[in-house]
């Protein structure tokens, strides 16, 4: 079992070494060392994944196993394939971000690599942890290194403000989560997730349980950028170095949702299961609200990274809808969706990075037609945009289809596929519109139809001047990520494996028996899952819708003008003022807490 602690220790100790030896290391050596450490971490996480396929792996640090009777004093890592899979995914994205940084970030030293590795160690630790307080500690470690990475270009204005907004909003969220953890501890005297579940299951729902659950879930939803906690995300992603955006958009926000899922199914499901229906509606409302705010805001952007940031928010909303099904099929779909979308979105971020490298600009209007000779980048960007809309057979399509099927067939929400189709069509449409303008020069040049004040002060280039050619270490990751996104959608047996894993994930009593009493695994029943015929129609529908939205945006139809007051109002809410963000956070917690207090009894 030595691979379990090593999965965290290798990147952590590696980071320490890089930071200590930074004076001695040349840039190339630092790149090579951090790349080797990243690949080692991917390997260790992959071993963990392979071992956990048949049986939940429990590792007690310092061999502090639970006392007879199921009292856990020690701290454990407990993970199944979904958790370990997330760790593998986060580590792989870190490696790709490292490769992309090689040529993209000209002036960084070993400290950058060290922070990247600390970030990775925290993500892996968070993915595998089976202890509520340790989840918080890894969550905070992840956050702090993320604040540093977001504000890495500290000598420019917008990274300072973006990192401040990010850090303050997320710290406030983490404090709320810790307050919730304190309340849960006061109720159960336990920090081990399985033991909390065991204890809570013996009592009913009361005010302390609801308050604790609200605060913990809201704390994680801040990281997952659900409304009204999402404001920080666009600020942070717009200013972070593009390689870091790959990690933020692909793994970090998703880990917030993993936190919600894990805490619900291991600790709170035993007590809240009778109220699953009420909880489902609250989460669906948050998820769909997030999806549509993200979609509308991405349509209103001209700053390419900010547009991708709002697209990320939109898809986080759809992932939350998948988790909100609170069922194995919904969770399996979400898991596939997260990875598929993460891969394709990473490819899009790399494309934007290449445009920035070649043209030293990120503004859609400024770049109008200037991407004509970037043919490969254009191809990857357009196909990637269609893929995240839901073009079969890419990975995002498979995930979206499974979530839609779970909603429509499992829970009778027949309207859900159509709603999800619209949200992804609008989001992808915004990206396609930008692609059409930048890479093909379609539509008229000149002033944008909406005021583009967000671009002011954000145009400072990360790479100071335009370059003449695209290095292989930039276009290769873009193509590889897109192909990986395609492979993810056609991997045979993936959906079945995800459903088997999710089936185990949603059974808290099985988890508790394995963690607390070392019970042998129950034999899993063979299952099969595949995208239904109707979901192909919705996938194609989303692609057609995205093309229509893009066409309307490029040609500036009169109908587009009519929507302008709505966008103006929505954009005004995104004020860039951290006090406003925290006010929204407070209000959101109050509203969600009230909803839970009314419905969970």
């Amino acid at each position: 079992m030595a691979y379990v602690p090593l999965a965290v220790l290798v990147p952590m100790l590696g980071a320490t070494f890089l930071a200590a030896a930074r004076e001695l290391l040349s840039r190339a050596l630092a790149d090579a060392v951090s790349l080797a450490l990243g690949i080692a971490t991917v390997t260790l996480c992959a071993i963990a994944l392979a071992h956990s396929v048949d049986h939940t792996i429990v590792y007690w640090w310092g061999a502090w196993t639970p006392r007879p009777g199921g009292v856990a004093l020690g701290i454990d890592f407990a993970f199944g394939p979904l958790d370990a899979g997330m760790a593998v995914f986060a580590a792989s994205l870190t490696v790709i971000a490292g490769v992309f940084s090689w040529r993209f970030l000209a002036e960084v030293d070993a400290l950058y690599h060290a922070i990247l590795l600390v970030f990775l160690a925290a993500m892996v630790g968070f993915s595998l942890s089976g202890d509520l307080f340790n989840m918080f500690v890894f969550f905070e470690l992840m956050s702090v290194s993320a604040y540093v990475l977001a504000g890495f270009k500290i000598d420019q204005r917008s990274p300072i403000e973006g990192s401040l907004n990010f850090a303050i909003t997320n710290s406030a969220g983490a404090i709320l989560a810790l307050f919730g953890i304190g309340l849960v501890y006061s109720k159960t005297g336990a920090l081990n997730l399985a033991q909390i579940g065991d204890q809570l299951g013996r009592h009913g729902v009361d005010a302390v349980v609801v308050a604790g659950f609200t605060l913990i879930v809201c704390g994680f939803l801040v990281k997952a950028a659900a409304i009204p906690f999402h404001f920080w995300l666009a600020d942070a992603y717009a200013v972070a170095p593009t390689p870091v955006c790959i990690l933020f958009a692909g793994a970090m926000s998703e880990l917030g949702l993993l936190g919600v899922a894990r805490v619900y199914w291991t600790a709170f499901a035993p007590v809240l299961d009778p109220h699953a229906e009420a909880l489902r509606w609250t989460l669906i409302a948050i998820g769909l609200g997030t999806a549509f705010v993200g979609a509308a805001m991405s349509l209103a952007q001209h700053h390419l990274k900010r547009m991708l940031a709002f697209a990320t928010i939109a898809y986080m909303g759809l992932f939350l809808v998948g988790i909100a099904m609170l069922s194995a099929d919904g969770l399996a779909g979400t898991a596939i969706y997260v990875v598929g979308d993460g891969l394709v979105k990473a490819a899009l971020f790399v494309c934007v990075g290449i445009v920035q490298h070649r043209r030293a600009s990120l503004d859609e209007v400024d770049l109008h037609g200037r991407g004509r000779d970037l043919r490969l980048t254009a191809g990857v960007f357009v196909i990637g945009s269609l893929a995240i809309a839901g073009l079969p057979p890419f990975g995002p399509f498979l995930g979206k289809a499974l979530v839609e099927d779970a909603a429509a067939h499992g829970h009778g929400l027949w309207w859900m596929p159509a709603v999800m189709m619209i949200a992804s069509a609008v989001t992808a449409g915004a990206l396609l519109r930008a692609g059409a303008r930048v890479f093909f020069g379609w539509g008229s040049a000149g002033q944008p139809d909406e005021s583009s004040d967000e671009a002011e002060g954000e145009t400072e280039p990360e790479t100071d001047k335009p370059h003449d050619h695209t290095p292989v270490l930039m276009w290769l990751p873009a193509v590889a990520l897109l192909l990986a996104g395609l492979a993810w959608g056609v991997l045979p047996g993936l959906a079945d494996a995800a459903l088997r894993a999710a089936d185990r994930y949603v059974q808290p009593n099985v988890y508790a028996a394995i963690v607390l009493h070392g019970a042998p695994p129950e034999p899993t029943t063979p299952v099969s899952l595949s995208a239904s015929g109707a979901s192909y129609l919705y996938g194609v529908g989303a692609v057609v819708g995205a093309l229509m939205v893009a066409a309307a945006g490029v040609t500036r139809l009169r109908a587009v003008d009519a929507t302008r007051p709505l966008f103006a109002w929505l954009r005004k809410l995104h004020s860039g003022h951290v006090g406003d963000y925290v006010a929204w956070l407070t209000a959101g917690v109050a509203v969600i807490g009230t909803a839970f207090a009314i419905t969970l009894r």
């Binding site: 307080f133 500690v137 905070e140 702090v144 604040y147 540093v148 504000g151 500290i154 000598d155 420019q156 204005r157 917008s158 300072i160 403000e161 973006g162 990192s163 401040l164 907004n165 850090a167 303050i168 710290s171 406030a172 404090i175 709320l176 810790l178 307050f179 304190g182 309340l183 501890y185 006061s186 920090l191 666009a234 600020d235 717009a238 200013v239 209103a300 005021s451 004040d453 967000e454 002011e456 002060g457 954000e458 954009r571 005004k572 995104h574 004020s575 860039g576 003022h577 951290v578 006090g579 406003d580 925290v582 006010a583 407070t586």
Partner: protein
């Protein structure tokens, strides 16, 4: 067990949030965040408190003596370390904001909007 510490913890949480929302100075804002964080210290220590119990240092007390819960104290210490890290980072950013923007008033930063 008195409810008083819980009221204090709740009060600190809310007053810290209020301070962040209305702050006009980044340093003041970071302190408000610390106030908010200290609510969790009070909460955790209150959760573990047992009336009349000893400190959980087993070197010089007979075994079997009732002690307050050492787990929450460990959590609080960890929490203090986390808070110190975050505060240090935020203050460094505040210094940079003063250098680049010439102001530490969040109302006047405004490089990111919409």
């Amino acid at each position: 067990m008195s409810v008083f510490p819980y009221i204090v913890a709740g009060w600190l949480l809310l007053v810290g949030l209020w301070g962040i929302v209305t702050s006009r100075h980044l340093v003041h804002l970071v302190i408000c965040l610390s106030v908010m964080q200290s609510s969790t210290y009070v909460l955790l220590l209150a959760v573990g408190y047992r009336h009349g119990a000893k400190a959980p240092i087993f070197a010089d007390i007979p075994s079997g003596t009732q002690v307050v819960d050492p787990v929450v104290q460990a959590l609080t210490l960890t929490d203090v370390v986390v808070e110190a890290t975050v505060a240090a980072l935020l203050l460094a950013l505040a210094v940079q904001a003063q250098k680049r923007f010439g102001t530490v008033d969040p109302d006047e930063l405004g490089a990111l909007r919409g």
